[in-house]
Each structure stands twice: as C-alpha cells, then as structure tokens.
Symmetry: none
Subunit: 196 residues, 4 copies
Amino acid sequence: MKNAKSFQDLKYTEKENKKKIIIDAAERIFAIKPFNQVTMRDIAKEAGISAGAIYRYFSDQQALFVEAFLLGAEEIIGMLEKIIATSKNPLKDTIYTFLNYLNKHDPYFRMMTHFMLDANLSPDLIDKLNEAERRLLDQFTKLFASHSNARLLAHSLFASLNGVMITFHNYPGRSKKEVRYHMHRLGETLYQLFSC
Amino acid sequence: MKNAKSFQDLKYTEKENKKKIIIDAAERIFAIKPFNQVTMRDIAKEAGISAGAIYRYFSDQQALFVEAFLLGAEEIIGMLEKIIATSKNPLKDTIYTFLNYLNKHDPYFRMMTHFMLDANLSPDLIDKLNEAERRLLDQFTKLFASHSNARLLAHSLFASLNGVMITFHNYPGRSKKEVRYHMHRLGETLYQLFSC
Amino acid sequence: MKNAKSFQDLKYTEKENKKKIIIDAAERIFAIKPFNQVTMRDIAKEAGISAGAIYRYFSDQQALFVEAFLLGAEEIIGMLEKIIATSKNPLKDTIYTFLNYLNKHDPYFRMMTHFMLDANLSPDLIDKLNEAERRLLDQFTKLFASHSNARLLAHSLFASLNGVMITFHNYPGRSKKEVRYHMHRLGETLYQLFSC
Amino acid sequence: MKNAKSFQDLKYTEKENKKKIIIDAAERIFAIKPFNQVTMRDIAKEAGISAGAIYRYFSDQQALFVEAFLLGAEEIIGMLEKIIATSKNPLKDTIYTFLNYLNKHDPYFRMMTHFMLDANLSPDLIDKLNEAERRLLDQFTKLFASHSNARLLAHSLFASLNGVMITFHNYPGRSKKEVRYHMHRLGETLYQLFSC
DNA sequence: AATGAATGAGCTTTCATTCAT
DNA sequence: AATGAATGAAAGCTCATTCAT
C-alpha cells in the first residue's frame, strides 16, 4: 500500500522545511545584529541561498519576520503550557520562564516590540500575530483561573513582564548578569503582588 | 538701567523657539509614521523649512529625536511631581496620569521604546536619556516611600505601565476609545495590586 | 574531455568585463570633468547602468578610482618593459613614450596626481598604488643600470617627467598641439641632461 | 600738509588688510586640512568673522584660493630674486630654496597642483595665475642666462622640481625627515645634471 | 559692513525587490 | 527552483552662496 502522503504533501513538506531553514538563518542573524539592520542578503547568505530565492518562500521581508517571530511564539507557548500543567507554583514558574526565555532569546523580544510598535503589516500578517498573542494570553489567563477578573490579571501580568523586559533590558551601566539579576528581583516583586 | 534681557538672551531664546518649532513638527510626523521611517525631509517639510536648516539646531537626526523625547519627559516628570505632592491618592493618580499622558502623546511612548531598544546613540545622548529616566523613576520611588523595597516597587510599577502601553497600544480590533478603556482597567488592576 | 574554461572562469571573466566597461566609462568622464567632481551617477549614466550597480563591482568610489588608475599603470608599465628590452635608445624612447602616454591619457595623469596628493585611501588601496609605483620606478631604474646612483637618477627622471606633465599640461594660451610640442622639447632637454 | 593718502586710499588699504587677514586664516586651515576639504566656514571661523562676510572681499571660494596662492607665489618669487642676485651658486641655492619652501609650506604646493589640474577657474583668475607662473619662470630663466636654450632649461628645472615634490611628497613608509632627505638628494642629482 | 539663518542642489551608499536566464 | 544582476527610490548630511536685517 502506498504511503498516505501525496505528491502534493511532499512538496508542501519540502517547502516548509526550506522555510524553516531560512527562518533559522534569520534568527542567527537577529542574534548578532540590531533588528532593523538585518537585510535580506544577510539572511540569504546565512542560509546559503540567494536573496531572490527567499521571495519564493516569503512574500516579503515583513512576512519572513513575522513567521520567524511566530516560531518563537509557538515555542514559548508550548513551554508555558507544559509548566502550567505540571508546576506546583505555576505563577512563579511562568514569570521566571517567560523572563528567562526573552532574556535568552533577545531577538524574539525585540521582534515582539517591533511588531507591537513600528510595523506596517498587512492585515493578513496582523491576524497571525494577534492569534499568537491571544494564545499566549490564554496561558496567562489559566494562572488566574480562580479569579473573577482572570483576564484582566493575565493581561496585566503579561504586560508587566513585557514592560520589565523593555524597560530594563538596557539598564545603563549594568552588566548582562546584573541586568538579569535585577529582572529576577522585579519578577519576584511582581510575583508577590500578583499572588495577593 | 539695563534691560533684564541681554542681546545674548534674546538670541538664545529665539534659537530655543526655533528648536521647539522643529520638535513640534517632528512630533506631528511621529504621530502618523512608524518611528524609524521618519525622515529629516518629512520633518523639514512639516516645519516649513529646508532639511539642511535643521542641522543648524540639531547636530544630527538622533540628537533631534532625543531632544524631542526629553521635552516630553520633562513635561511628564513635572506633572508627576505636582501630582505626587498634592494628590490624596498619589499612587492612583500617578498611574492614571502616566497612562493618559502616553496615550495622548503616542509619539513619546514610541520614542521611549525606540531608545530603549533600537537606538544607536552617542554616549552623550545616552547620558541625557538615562538622566531623564532616573528622574522619572525618582517620582515613582516617592510613591513607595514607606516601603522597605521602594525602589523595586517603583521599578516594577514603571515597567508595568510601560508594558501596558506597549502591549495593548495596538490592541487588535479595538477602537481608540476601547483601547483607552482597557488600559484604564489594567491600570486599576495594577493599582490594586501595588497598593496591597 | 572537459572544456578548459570552467563555469567559474566564465563568470569571473564576465565580471571582469563588466568592471572594464565601468572603468572605461569612468575614464570618459574623467576626461571631461575635474577629477574630484566626478560622481558615481556620472559614471553610471555613461556606462548605461544604475549608480547602485557599480557597487556590485567596486566596494566604493575610491576603489573604482584606484582600479581605473591601476589599469592604466599596468599598461604603461608593460609598454616601458617592452621598450626598454628592445629599444636602441631606451632612455630617449622611455621619455617620449611616457610623455606621450600621459598626454594621450589625460585622466591617468590626473588620477596619479590625485592619489599622490588629495586622496584619503584605505591602507589596502594605498598598498596597491605603492606597488604599482614601485614597479613603474623599477622600469626607470633599468635605464641607469650602469650608474652607481641608478635609483636616484631613476627617481629624478620619473619625477621630472611627472613635473613636466603637471606643470605644462595647461600651458596657458597654447593649443593641445603646441602643448605637445613644448613637452617634446622639454623631454628632449631632459634626455640630454640625463644622458650626460 | 595733509597726508597724501586720500579717503579712497584708506578704504582701499583697509580692504586689503582685511583680505590679508582672511587669507592668513585660510593658510592656517590649509595647513591642517586636505585642500579640498577646506570650507568657507572653516576659514571664516579661523578669521573670526562670518562666512557671509568673506564674500565682501572675495567673489567666491576659488577667488580666495587663488589670492591665497598668489601671496605665497609672491613670497617665493621674492626669495628667488634675492638669492639669484646674491648667491655664489644661484642654481644650487635656487633648487634648495624652492624645495625647502614648498616642503615647509605644504599648502602652497598643494594649491599649486590644484590649480594646475582640477580647478575650474574664471578667465580672470587664470590670468592672474599665469602671470605669477610667468614671473616665477623668469627667475628660473635667469639661472641659465648664458645658455642658448635658457627658457627650455628653466622650464625643465621648474617642472622637475615640481615633479619631485608631487611624486615623493607622500613617499610611502617614510618619515617626514626621510622624505626631506630624499628630496634633498634628488635636488642634488638635478643640480648636477642641470649644471652640466 | 557684517551677520547668520536659510536654501537647495548634490553626493555616496544601501536595500528590498524584480526578472531574465 | 534558483541565481544574481540590476533597479530605483530613498536617506542623511554638507556646503557654497544669498539675503534680510
């Protein structure tokens, strides 16, 4: 009996694989260059293809950026899902996991703010981003399931953590380690407040 | 008897006035364009002068951006100072004032995040920004004067409010009014948490 | 049996051809404009391409200028090599050949002085120029092989010929032909002096 | 009895004085900046006046440059006149004086080549330069008064010395002192040749 | 006579994107 | 499917020069 995968499916998979390769390359570049200085050529070179080839997989630069971001969003959503399902102190662990993740994956955090602020995106891409945000917020909402205003608390916490990142990410005169430590303490502060 | 204002003073004042005109023009542009797409020509046109003329008043684009931001920062610091000194509920009023201000002055909020993230600034400008941030944080710190961890609480609140702005500023599918209302509720939520 | 030229070779050749086209265009412009007023757009237009395209072949303006000059330098070095190897009166023929070449290729002569004076070049480019100058001087040194101070004589002659070019190139009120004739006579004068 | 100088004369003198001040300022700038990077503002600032004011004394930038050059030319012509009239070895002393002067007054040497090559001058200015060159060449001609081809020898020597300057002015990898020494030796070589 | 504010043209360089091959 | 050459728009910035005061 033939494999269930049709020729169409194969093609689709291959295309997805290629996209993944490009996105991975993009991430590597994001990690070493200020976000808005990353060029298509940078990414193409890192991926080992030509710049023009990227346009076979992504309609334009913004689309690539959005997809790269979504991949990271998926990852963090997955992490939170797991933690919330298993942790003894989901609130605390969520806070730390989230902060740690963004700290370690600077590009995602910067992409996130980029999209929240500057981006001039097509409705299509906006929808995709919103959907991801919604799903991320869903995780936070679970943390306050027993509260009447769960959604508000979730939004507040999510916003607060984003704010911590953006505000103290470049804390002047502090080393990376010190920044991390400071964020940790702010995370703890927020934990105490939100666990009231 | 000599006039109180010397010729020097007059010149200085005129120069400052002109700077203000340019900054005001810049703000108007910031309000309608993604921040990092604003060009010197845009601003010049809006200000009714030539692009080259701007360089008489600001050494370069970044300097103009920073000064524009600082002007707003001064304003908000002044507002908070007054409120904290006179309000019966300084915490609550600070939260609302801050959120309202940023909401009304979208450009400032966007500039703030721009500087926090992308900017490639000269040490000189960075110092100016840091000093403004410090002074702003000082206001927040006053709110928690009676707490042992006043500074941490201040940082947390400041970060949280920034986060609220950045996260829900473009809340998808909501009108400006709805966004405002949502932020209000998040502000209230934070107020309750921080007043524990 | 494989073709002697690989695909790589072909590509390389094409790239070199294109560079040559651009350089040729540049020369045509150099011939009609003061050297430091030549713009990339001028050259691009003359070459029938866009200004941006030039940057595919030359890292920047200075690199293009240097390569243009080196091409001429190679040519003249080659000519002198041949003459010195075969001529019955190498000194005389070198003098005339050199003066004639520079006279006919005004741009090269102007480039040479440009680099000797104004240019703000990268070390890399400076090295290339120096190497070319050294090789050119080597030819002149051969002319005085039997003298104890061959190098000094070579330098003196080379410098003198350059000086003749720069000094009388624009001899006021003289036609091109008259200028040429005057240089010829100066060349002869130098020949007699240097053949003492 | 009244002074012979009329009011007109006084005005003229004052104007000339002012021009001299500006030219002196220009020279000081030429000494520290590549010739074609000197701006009117640079000069104005150094002269302690506004950029606009310069245009009261010089019709445009080129005119200022030319006059600055002419002043130096006068100086060197004067020096040569004196030397030729008094020296026991006028040829030798002329060679060394000329080389030394240009070596010490780098800006003049660079201006000279600038005018010989790039400049886009008005006929008026060209005339002035030509007249100065003629007078300079006259000095060199005196050196060969006893020769039948005095003018040719004069032109050759003048050109050769210019060539020495331009060619070895930036002799790669040599210190200023070494460059000077090398030029000295080339000067000596030329002396021996031209005194045949 | 002098200022200095303003202009406006112009320059190099970068880059997303397109398209013939 | 992929290349890579080419485009063309744009941007920041500089500067000689002008002119109202």
